[in-house]
Each structure stands twice: as C-alpha cells, then as structure tokens.
Symmetry: C2
Subunit: 321 residues, 2 copies
C-alpha cells in the first residue's frame, strides 16, 4: 500500500526526518545527529534506521512509503543523485546518496539542495502556498535561493539554478567566499553582515559593538541587530547596507522571473520588521516606476520544518510522474 511520504533534511549537525501523508500533513518527525565523520555508509544506515523506526511508530510499514525526498547542502550533482564534495561533510565524497536511499527504502527518491527543498516546502504549504511564481532566499552563512516559475521549481541545465546569493549587484565590490566580487551574499548574508561590522570596528569605527568584540572575540549578525535596537550608529549603517543589498536583489529577481511573492527565510528573519521593512523600503526606492509592481516581499512561515516538508513535497512530485 502506498500511503506515506518521507522528507529528509540533512544538515551538518542534525538530520531531520518527517513522515507525511499524501496530502503533505505531518504525521510524525524525528531527528538524529549527522555524525558525518563516520562516513557515508554508517550515516545512511543510521538515517534509514531512524526512518523505519519513525514509520513503524506511526503505525505503518516500510512498504507503505510511496517516495522519499532528501535535501543536502551543496555542491552536488543533483541530476545524477551524487553528493560530490560537501563542505559541511568532508567525509562525503562522490556519494550516490539517491541510489543508496532508494535501495535501502525500496522507493523512488527525490534529491535536491537544501535551499531548493526549503523553497518547495514554503511553496507547497507555507508563505508561497497561494501563488504560482515565487522566489525564495535563505539568509545564513551564505544566501541560498530557490525559484518557482509557473508552479515548477527551476533546476537549471545542471541542477544548479537559483544560486541567488551570487548575483552580482556591486560589480567590482567586496570579495565573496565564492571568489566573485560584488555578490549580494558578500554584503547581506548573516555572516557577511557581522563581518562588515567587524571590519568597520577594526578600521576604527566607534560603536557599542566594540565591547562585544572584546568580550567574545567576534561579532554575530544577531549582535549587530541587538545593538541597532540600542541605537548604535554603526549597527544602523551596517544593517541598512544589508537591507539595501537585499532590496536590490529583489529588484533583480523581479526582472528575471517576475514572481508574485519573494520569501525570505533563515535565522536572520527573527529580526522581524527591523529587517523586512527596510528590505521593502530599498526595493521600492530602487525599482523602476514604469508600472506599479504588486510583488509581495515577506518572510517564510514554516520555520525549521520547511526542509522536511519540502523534501516530502518533492517526493510527492515523483510518485505523480
């Protein structure tokens, strides 16, 4: 009997697993530590054990699994189903994860990067559920992205579409971790927001963040927003620059695929309107005035479950086919 879907969200620290019905309602979920250093076989074995335990606990049998979906951090060859060289899991090199899972669970497996999978989750049941065209950003160490056009995820010729953090908006500007100059990520990711604050302090800027640095040896993006709330001028400048880069990024994605909704996710959205209102301000300031734009810029609604839900939504797509 074909009754349930499995969604798996692999992170550097934890693997989250969800068991869903065919309408994407969550039946139950669990989490195991990744223990990536153990290497791919033991990790997949633990993952499969946890899945089977979860399924049985929910009153089903492994044979009831219609399909599974899995999201992992890139880079990977998503079309071939292989984790090539994961930066967060160094022991995973050329791992045919899709095939390994498919054999172990005896069901079809959908595989994509973590940002695309979370995008699918928000599109299926979260912030994008009423629309057909959506762009999704995750603000974390980097800026990940996903694009839904006419109800379908854009995957690109090699499965590497929607690398939206690496859109160049300040040509010749800051060096990004990717090697390019002027990427949105090099300004507006959580880590680059913190990094710009640190650089400014090291260059002699006055700021209440100085004490944070002295105490902790570093500054987090959360610290920057905390000191913005306390009225620190440097924190204001840094967070305005972050919002402007994100507003410009919204302009650019609007001109590319014309989404109805642009959805931001990631830990940074905990800053709420301090972030969202300023992104909207810079979008409105920079967008053309040739016609009235109706795109809605908003935050994700699913929180940490977006990954498992999106993975299950992708699994649902492959049983349909």
């Amino acid at each position: 009997m074909s009754e349930i879907l499995i969604g798996i969200d692999v992170g550097g620290t934890n693997i989250k697993i969800g068991c869903f019905d065919l309408q994407l309602n969550l039946i139950s979920k669990t989490s195991v530590t990744t223990e990536a250093d153990m290497g791919p076989e033991p990790v997949v074995e633990r993952m499969v054990e946890a899945i089977i335990g979860l399924v049985k606990e929910a009153g089903f049998n492994p044979e009831d699994i219609s399909a599974a979906g899995i999201g992992t951090p890139g880079p990977a060859d998503y079309k071939a189903g292989i984790i090539i060289n994961s930066t967060n899991m160094p022991a995973f090199k050329n791992v045919p994860i899709k095939k390994m899972l498919s054999v172990a669970l005896n069901c079809p497996v959908a595989f994509d990067n973590d940002a695309n999978v979370a995008c699918m989750g928000e599109f299926a049941v979260g912030a994008g559920r009423e629309v057909n065209d959506m762009v999704f950003f995750t603000l974390g160490t980097g800026i990940g992205g996903g694009i839904i056009s006419d109800g379908k995820l854009i995957q690109g010729a090699g499965g590497n579409a929607a690398e939206l953090g690496h859109i160049i908006i300040y040509a010749g500007g800051r060096r990004c971790n990717c090697g390019q100059r002027g990427c949105a990520e090099a300004y507006a990711s959580a880590s680059h927001t913190a990094k710009r604050a640190l650089e400014a302090i090291e260059a002699g800027a006055e700021s209440s963040l100085k004490k944070v640095r002295e105490k902790k040896g570093q500054i987090s993006c959360k610290d920057v927003y905390e000191h913005l709330k306390r009225g620190d001028e440097l924190a204001k400048r840094i967070t305005e620059e972050t919002a402007e880069a994100l507003g410009l990024l919204c302009v650019n994605v609007l001109h590319m695929t014309e989404p109805q909704r642009i959805v931001f996710a990631g830990a940074m959205i905990k800053e709420g309107d301090l972030l969202l209102d300023r992104i909207k301000y810079y979008f409105n300031k920079n967008i053309w005035k040739l016609k009235k734009e109706t795109v809605e810029i908003c935050f994700a609604t699913l929180g940490e479950d977006a990954g498992i839900i999106g993975a299950a939504a992708m699994a649902k797509e492959i049983i349909r086919e």
Copy 2:
C-alpha cells in the same frame, strides 16, 4: 484542414508576416509598412489582408490556418492580450489585439513581446535549438530578454518576466531610461554604448570619434566599433565597458536559471568577435571558479526572421494544447 501557422512580427516601421508549415518550415513571407498613426483598426485590417494574400499565394485558404502568433513591442498585458500603451505606436492604446486577430482569422492567437517571440524563434530553430535551457538578449536601443527553462518560456506572474536589461549590476550607477540606476542596459545597449562615447567626448576625452560628432551631430554604436577597429583609445574603453556589463549580465543569468546557452541578438552582433570574444572574456574573468561552467555564449543565427519564426513557434504551442 489544419495545415499552416502564421507568424507576425510588429515593429514601429514594418510588420513582417510569415506563413509556415506545422514543422515551422517557412513557406513564404511578406512585409507591410506599419502605418501605426492610422490607428488600430486600419492597421489590423491591413495586416489581415496581407496575411490572407500570403496564404492564398502559397496555395492555401484562410481556413487552413491552425493558429497565429504575434509579437509586439511592450508594454502590454500579454496575458489579457491587450496592447496597453506602446511607445513606438502611440495611437495604440488598450487595443485587444489578440481578440481582434483571432476574430478576423478565425483561429487561436498567441501574443507576446517582441523579445520573447524572437527568443522562441532562436530556441525552436536557431541558436538554441539543441538545448533545453537558454537565455536570450537583444541588444538595441534597450536590452530585451527571454528565458527558456526546461523547454518552456518563462512568462512571469504578469507576463513581464525576462526584463533582463534592467538587472542592476552597478548599484548606484548610471541612470537608465527606466528610472533605475545601474541597469545593464544603461551601459551596454547599442544606444547607451553610443551615449557613453558622446558623454566622454563632451567631457573632453580625446578621440577620433570627435570628427564624427562634428559632422553628424551624433555618434552611433556602429561608429564606436568602427573607430575601435581604427585603434581609437576611447572607442576601446567604451566597448570594453559594454562587454564587461554584458559579461556580468551573463554571470547573473547563469546564477538565476542556469542556461546551457546564452544567445545575443540585435544589430550590435554584426560587430562579430569584436563583441563576442570580449563578452566571453569578461564572463570568464568574473564568474566564480567553484566549478567548471560549460554554458556557451553565442550569437543568434536567424537574423530578421527570428520574430516571425518565434511567433509561429508560439502559435504551434497553442494548437498543441
């Protein structure tokens, strides 16, 4: 009998019309002057007369038309089938062109902007015919665009996707005709390439282009490339800036929809390798080195027929449905 497709490419000066078989082979073509000042009804009447004449000349009857496609310059409400306010045809305001043609020809009509239509032509039988994912640019007064993802044209929530000339790559930079700052178009369209040369001369730059300006009162993009060939230093700087903006635009579209091929069209491509080699140079200089990119940057192959072929290709899509 359902045997032929009609492709119509409306420009400010001429309306080109092609009669095609269902495999998109051109049977015959014609052209009439637009005479847009006469207003929509007479223009559509002339267009329909020309179509019927063309069809009969080719040995068919109007009943043999399976579907027609039409491309016009924007802005329009392509989903509703209405030319709202054409900058090149001021007498055309709120014209339900799709319905008018559909009634006159008694067949379904596909309607899109000229850049999307030319993109479809190159995708169907031109520079993009072997690929599934392609991005298309036309370099003219502005920079138009089209995106094919997984074999389908991306139209966006309101039919206004792929406004690729208005992707901001130099935030805070030159003012574009659209009102935004730093758009690719404000640097790299044919008219802005000429304009930058003119501005440099007006600011006192030395250049053999000075004489052109004295003689003609203006400078064209063609003049700039002509003087590049003659070794003019200013022409070299201006055309390098054009190529760099286009190379950066290629980086950005690669990170958005990951095309296999990026195709440039428009009068500027007559400059050949003087343009293409430099775009490739700046793409390679600016793209990340995280993985080897295999995207091919090339020129369109259909020339002036791209519009009628693309319009016919769109017509073909709607009989399929």
